[in-house]
């Protein structure tokens, strides 16, 4: 487990360094994820320790958003001032995004299945 955690942190660190050095608009952890994915492709297997650690971390993924979400208390004034556009945009855009993504993917999948 210690090895797997270290591995994840090393990939994140390398990702951050690449993002900084090449001034990429993509955040470090995403580059780290891509690099780890490429490593797994090259290696051809995941490995027990890494799989267990990743599952553990990802099974409580929603916990990790709680500290940032609690920050709403700092922005209560702005949110209260502009609550109509904010709430409408969040709900409208999220529902629309789910629908558009699902419909485009399904349309292209069934066409591929038909041909």
């Amino acid at each position: 487990m210690l090895g797997a955690i270290t591995l994840l942190l090393v990939y994140q660190l390398v990702g951050e360094v690449i993002a900084l050095v090449f001034k990429l608009p993509v955040p470090g952890p995403v580059i780290g994820m891509l690099l780890l994915f490429l490593t797994l492709l090259a290696r051809g297997s995941i490995g027990e320790g890494l799989r267990n650690t990743a599952n553990g971390l990802l099974s409580h993924l929603s916990l990790l958003f709680v500290p940032a979400g609690t920050g709403v208390m700092v922005h209560l004034a702005r949110v209260a001032d502009e609550w109509v556009p904010i709430v409408a945009a969040l709900i409208g855009s999220t529902v629309l995004t789910i629908a558009v993504t699902a419909l485009v993917m399904r349309a292209l999948m069934s066409r591929r299945e038909r041909t």
Partner: protein, 239 residues
């Protein structure tokens, strides 16, 4: 007795221990409620936990910064968790190769819809420019969205809040939207939730099925990438 209790409180409220412990306790309490309700999407654990914490901090007069000194240890794990998404992604490699074209097309359509519709709706209803910029990357995971907003002149901490709110809305509504559209394939359902509602949607998808979760995780990672690339382009086009 009372002064002693007060001493203990004064001591505890200045250490990170309290913020960290309370985050874990409140989240597990919220998750227990969610579990007891058979994972009803309406009782989203993040929403319950955030509401409880805001209430507790307000009642005790604790500033958010003091709380975050402890909670940042949980927040920090978002980075390694993002890297760890490579693993479920790799586990779906075969399906990934087969579905490459539909996935990329759906990603592009979803990423554009997320940015343009959020900014469009808020702009029509008269939101300020700072709010518009902070709102634009709402569908991508917190560290990515905050990075984007910071570069574009929004408020990163406001973005973090809007991102979490989006995740909750996505996790709550996805089942109803997808059922209404009669989308049944778990890979499609997961991918749509992941594009729209990042990690909170992904967490929800993992509770539904392993396949939905893997595709949601994939979508979350890809949308982080797509939005980070598309957003500067859109700003440049529409200024």
């Amino acid at each position: 007795m009372t002064p002693k209790v007060l001493d203990v409180w004064v001591y505890l409220s200045t250490t990170p221990l309290l913020g960290l412990t309370i985050t874990l306790l409140v989240y597990q309490g919220a998750f227990w409620v969610y579990q007891r309700a058979n994972f009803n999407p309406l009782l989203n654990p993040v929403a319950l936990a955030v509401a409880t914490l805001v209430l507790l901090l307000s009642l005790t007069g604790t500033p958010y910064q003091t709380y975050f000194d402890g909670a940042q240890f949980v927040h920090f794990l978002l980075g390694p968790a993002t890297v760890a998404l490579a693993i479920p992604l790799y586990a779906q490699l075969d399906k990934l190769k087969r579905l490459l074209v539909p996935l990329l097309a759906a990603l592009l359509a979803g990423a554009l819809t997320a940015i343009v519709s959020a900014v469009g709706i808020a702009w029509l209803l008269g939101a300020s420019r700072t709010t518009l910029i902070s709102l634009a990357p709402k569908s991508v995971t917190t560290p990515i969205a905050m990075g984007i907003t910071e570069k574009m002149g929004g408020l990163p901490s406001l973005t973090a809040v809007l991102v979490v709110a989006t995740g909750i809305i996505g996790a709550v509504t996805a089942k109803y939207v997808l059922d209404f559209l009669r989308v049944r394939d778990h890979s499609v359902r997961g991918f749509a939730v992941g594009v729209a509602a990042h990690g909170i949607g992904t967490a929800r998808a993992f509770q539904v099925s392993e396949e939905a979760g893997a595709f949601a995780g994939l979508a979350m990672g890809l949308n982080g990438l797509a939005t980070a690339l598309l957003f500067p382009l859109l700003i440049w086009l529409f200024g």
